[in-house]
Symmetry: C2
Subunit: 220 residues, 2 copies
């Protein structure tokens, strides 16, 4: 068991190091030797867990697909908002999340299916929107599938722009602006009036989660 | 004059070749020798116009900043919609435009100011939104600056997602969806009812422009 825990820990440090390097250099300029140096592990240890740079990228992208569930809220649309606000906050503070999203956006990532992380993110939002629809939270014309795609696409571009213009300092505000413009076209007025879409929503939510250790922070 | 025209033509072919290579490989994997081969020009000709790969990238990004003006419409918000729909159409059909946007989104582009194309795009949209505001087309709470940033950011992400999921086949539809969700939070109802945000808007508009040769298609 101690040995298994150590292996999980080593795998995690390699992924964190790979994420740092992918995040700083982009995929194609990243080298295994820089990842090795950053992780402080032997070549043997790295190749025990990951066969190649591609395999490392897959491991990093995978992180995003398995993030922990968020606490249930009074409305499904608040949970939808929370997904965006939490991701905005984690992008600012967690290199693993940053690299995971960065790889999906990186044109130089050839041979890897960059569609998988997009589809996983779209599916998660679509599920929430379908639940919102069945609870009567959506305006009648709203199509959960196309709305989920629009939100995922918009989010992904706004985070690149925020990275370029402010090193993601203003990401919370920018995602809050997006939600303020889009939600009135999605939500019934009664639900809209209850939504917390403030730019510090992600930070506040994460602080609550940190007091409930069983729900967050466990490595995959 | 004939010599100058040839020089402009050569510069243009080099930029088109560079755009193709950047678009296919991403910035960091692109090589000068592949661009040379693609352009069918001598090394001397290329270095006469561009000092380095960075300089080529600047030239390609610059294209986006100097695209031709679109025809005036009855409302400034229709002109705003047209900017997005035309860009969606050009992204599908013009490698130069594709590479120009791609470079702004490419994390591996180090040492170049990727903020410039974003700011130029934001400025253009903000100008249209300010004009729309002064014509009474906007809802009272709308802030032209943050709205322009939100639209530019959303657009840029949706085009990456469309590229990943459908090789941009569905880009017109996706931008039309974005506009349908966002414009009701920007436009007065009376103007909203007049807006043409259909997914083939860009194509139709470009067809009109092609019959007015003085307005379009002149290289910079």
């Amino acid at each position: 068991m101690a040995q298994q825990a150590r292996a999980i820990q080593t795998r995690r440090s390699i992924l964190v190091a790979a994420a740092d390097v992918f995040d700083e250099r982009g995929y194609s300029s990243a080298t295994i030797s820089e990842i090795l140096a950053r992780a402080g592990v032997t070549k043997g240890a790295l190749y025990f867990h990951f066969a190649s740079k591609e395999d490392l990228a897959l491991g990093v992208m995978d992180i995003q697909l398995h993030s922990d569930p968020l606490p249930p809220q009074l409305t499904k649309l608040q949970e939808l908002v929370d997904q965006g606000m939490i991701l905005a906050h984690r992008l600012r503070h967690e290199p693993l999340v940053r690299a995971s999203v960065g790889l999906a956006m990186d044109q130089a990532v050839e041979g890897l299916d960059r569609g998988t992380p997009f589809r996983a993110w779209i599916d998660r939002l679509e599920l929430l929107l379908r639940a919102a629809k069945s609870q009567g939270e959506l305006l009648p014309h709203v199509d959960p599938g196309e709305t989920a795609e629009m939100l995922a696409g918009s989010f992904s571009g706004i985070q690149v722009m925020s990275q370029v213009l402010s090193n993601r300092e203003d990401l919370g505000r920018r995602i809050s602006v997006l939600l303020h413009y889009v939600l009135p076209s999605i939500s019934t007025p009664a639900v809209l009036a209850t939504l917390d879409m403030a730019e510090d929503r992600g930070e506040r939510l994460l602080r609550t989660l940190e007091t409930v250790p069983s729900q967050v922070g466990t490595p995959n």
